[in-house]
């Protein structure tokens, strides 16, 4: 029912879809849920209500993408992340509208959040080829060995995106995960999933290989347990889980000893992040090489 005069042009709605394996499927369950504006409660769209099967499909896609993404050069990953920033910048007005509706903000405030999101991506784009020098290094062991510790990505990371910050929060938790070579299955903000689903379109047009980031929308409490107990998921970011849900998920995560990032209280996504989120999903590999010595006398000089 609408009071709009029939002479005005009818706009074209967007069908919001998941982003899995580089494609845009609907939920295999065929389910959707109504997403409304945060301020006025107006209907915004129907978002896919992801099932446990959708979550498992996303894990398969993320695992498939892991080898290639982890094996890409750090320089390459940096350029790809920078390309994501470029694509988001180009869609600034669309995301400003979506964030304003999702979070009940003024245009100006929403635009500032989009700008911060772009800047956040640029920040992490610059980290890809520096983190190894910060987190790794040579160890002066007492013996004839060359011993080097290097960080490596943990693997498939399930990320529960923040519930309140629909775009900046999402970007702030996803970018560090993929910057280091992990692949991600992201559960968007349950109340405000639309910016996250649109962000899938940004990823799809920015050289991020399919499956590196997979975006699901739906009930966090329905999807997350499947991810937390999934034996092919290596790590879990609980940022978007409330305390009660988080505890249950952390218990489930112990089944294969997932690395767990617990929710933090009052995390300010507008502040410049430290390296915590980059290092949370890294493993340290230490390789010992025998050096031997030159010269028959045992002297290396």
């Amino acid at each position: 029912m609408s009071d709009r005069p029939m002479s005005e042009r009818l706009s074209v709605f967007k069908t919001y879809k998941l982003y899995v394996g580089g494609r845009f499927p609907r939920s295999e369950s065929g389910r959707v849920y109504e997403v409304t504006g945060s301020k006025d409660g107006n209907w915004l769209a129907n978002a896919p209500l992801s099932s446990r099967k959708d979550a498992r499909d996303a894990v398969v896609a993320a695992r498939k993408a892991f080898g290639g993404w982890a094996g890409a050069t750090a320089y390459n990953r940096g350029q790809v992340l920078y390309r994501v920033a470029e694509m988001l910048e180009g869609r600034r007005s669309q995301f400003t509208r979506e964030v304003a509706e999702a979070e009940g903000l003024s245009k100006a405030k929403a635009a500032a959040l989009v700008d911060l999101s772009v800047d956040r991506l640029v920040w992490y784009a610059g980290w890809t080829d520096k983190i190894a020098q910060i987190a790794g290094g040579a160890n002066p062991v007492a013996g004839p060995f060359f011993n080097l510790s290097t960080p490596e990505p943990t693997g498939v990371v399930a990320v529960l995106a923040p519930q309140e910050s629909s775009l900046l929060g999402l970007v702030s938790v996803v970018a560090p995960v993929i910057a280091t070579g992990n692949t991600a299955v992201v559960v968007a903000s349950e109340r405000s999933p639309l910016p996250a689903l649109s962000f899938g379109e940004v990823l799809a047009t920015s050289d991020v290989p399919g499956g590196v980031v997979n975006v699901l929308s739906g009930r966090t409490a329905e999807i997350a347990p499947t991810l937390a107990s999934h034996m092919d998921v290596n790590a879990l970011d609980l940022t978007g889980a409330d305390a009660e849900l988080a505890t249950g998920l952390e218990v489930a995560a112990a089944d294969n000893l997932k690395r767990v990032l617990r929710p933090r209280t009052g995390e300010d996504f507008a502040a410049t992040p430290g390296t915590d989120r980059l290092t949370a999903f890294l493993e340290t590999k230490t390789v010992w090489h025998t050096t031997g010595s030159l010269g028959a006398s045992g002297s290396s000089y």
Partner: protein, 476 residues
């Protein structure tokens, strides 16, 4: 040619074991609140060495409270003062290393050669290394003024009792935490001797508390609400249980768990050196090592040559009195562990792998298991999948480097791996693809306090050693 050796036992007289020991809480030895005790035996003779107080929940409460009281003062000390306490401990360990080596060999069953040349030097080195960090933490890359966590609950295994204590206590104290440590029930003695070292070093009371006990003591300790940090080394099953216990709390957790390390031998590897590395990888400490090279992956073309040389070498290993300086293979730590090793080895045979046992005499008393090699092992065999934690090697073959990597990574664990080849680029390429926390190329089982140690996947999380090892004890 057979070599005969005259017995060359290290003297027991350098160590004076008391008939009984209490819990070490708040700087004093005390009985358990409920008066319970347990005995520790020497696994090579089954002789009772001493009787320990067995800590219960009330004692855990008391020890955590003591550590909490001590935390305020200890964490407020200038780092340079904490450093000096740790340097003192390192020096006293060096001074008493002969005594401690004999003690460890008696209580654990491992050869004196290993406690003397590996365990004790590494213990001292570890304290010396972390002592130096105590007043340099702002340079460690964890922020300008990294803070300690508080009270650390530490549960350690029986395979390297004093070394695991050092790995836990040294970084904890250097960063300003206080500790409650539970040694394993079969090897509590060296931790109690360490309490005496703390006394000699003048360490403030309550900074280090030692609670001998069984699994129930450890469970109570890690579940205690006033603990800020939990560090565990032991089995993956217990590690998972601990992870569930601390879920939903703010306790920081690090776990160093099991492994099924692949030792990969390529066809261009110098066979004699590789054989020494294979032997060290699986028979060091009777194979009771989480990072043991328990799966030998050998390139098909050199399989027979390597296996023949390996069996020849293993046949020369001397099994027997751990205090004898010529002994290579000591006793298995406990009857329980021996039963587990025997059962898994029997399963290997039942599943069709070919079993070969070193021809050596087994002493009449004590817990012993002769070096054993399974060949014709497939990836589906239990002996290729389960951690045996004993002197049992499973031999598999591969044809290409890709196949070697795929097989090496085909495990839920990810702690260690070895690569034997003369080709430098192959070392780097293969090491790059292995999902394991420590990779040794043309060597095996090397440890150093500057070098981070810890696993991928179900071998746990967090690193011990090096700059990385500080993170586990800092609020970052």
């Amino acid at each position: 040619m057979t070599f005969e050796y005259a017995p060359a036992p290290e003297s027991r007289s350098v160590v004076d074991i008391a008939p009984s020991y209490g819990l070490f809480v708040d700087g004093e030895f005390t009985e358990a609140a409920d008066g319970r005790v347990f005995k520790t035996v020497s696994p090579s003779t089954e002789e009772v060495l001493s009787e320990m107080a067995r800590a219960g929940e009330a004692d855990v409460d008391r020890a955590v409270a003591a550590a909490r009281r001590a935390f305020e003062g200890w964490s407020a000390l200038p780092g340079s003062e904490r450093a000096k306490y740790l340097f003192r401990i390192a020096r006293i360990v060096q001074e008493r290393s002969r005594e401690l080596a004999v003690l460890e060999t008696l209580d654990n069953g491992k050869p004196i050669k290993e406690t003397r040349d590996a365990d004790l030097p590494l213990v001292a080195a570890h304290f010396f290394y972390y002592a130096g960090w105590a007043d340099k933490l702002e340079h460690a890359g964890y922020g300008p003024a990294p803070k300690p966590l508080g009270v650390a609950a530490q549960v350690i295994p029986w395979n390297f009792p004093l070394l695991m204590l050092a790995w836990k206590i040294a970084p904890a104290l250097a960063t300003g935490n206080t500790v409650v440590l539970k040694p394993a029930e079969t090897t509590p003695l060296s931790a109690l001797f360490f309490a005496d070292i703390c006394r000699q070093a003048g360490l403030p009371k309550g900074v280090v508390n030692i609670l001998p006990g069984y699994g129930d003591t450890g469970a109570a300790l890690v579940a205690h609400p006033d603990v800020n940090k939990v560090a565990f080394t032991g089995s993956t099953a217990v590690g998972k249980a601990i992870a569930r216990t601390v879920a939903g709390t703010r306790k920081k957790l690090t776990l160093e768990l099991g492994g099924k390390g692949a030792n990969i031998v390529f066809d261009d590897a110098p066979v004699d050196q590789a054989v020494e590395g294979i032997v060290n990888g699986i028979f060091f400490n009777q194979g009771q090592v989480c990072c043991a090279g328990s799966r030998l992956l050998v390139q098909e073309s050199v399989h027979d040559e390597v296996l023949d040389a390996l069996k020849r070498r293993i046949s020369t290993l001397r099994l027997g009195d751990p205090l004898d300086k010529n002994t290579d293979i000591g006793a298995i730590n406990s009857a329980e562990q021996l039963a587990r090793i025997s059962s898994l080895a029997d399963q290997g045979e039942a599943e069709g792998a070919e079993r070969w046992t070193a021809p050596c005499e087994i002493p009449s008393a004590g817990y012993w298991f002769a070096p054993t090699v399974f060949s014709g092992v497939t990836q589906a065999h239990t002996v290729a999948r389960d951690e045996i934690f004993g002197p049992v090697l499973s031999v598999l073959t591969f044809r290409t480097p890709d196949e070697a990597v795929a097989k090496a990574n085909n495990t839920a664990y990810g702690l260690s791996a070895g690569i034997w080849t003369d080709k430098g680029s192959r070392i780097l390429a293969v090491a790059n693809k292995l999902r394991a926390g420590v990779v040794w190329s043309n060597t095996f089982n090397k440890f150093d306090p500057t070098s981070p140690f810890g696993g991928y996947k179900e071998s746990g999380y967090g690193r011990e050693g090096g700059r990385h090892g500080l993170e586990a004890y800092l609020d970052v």
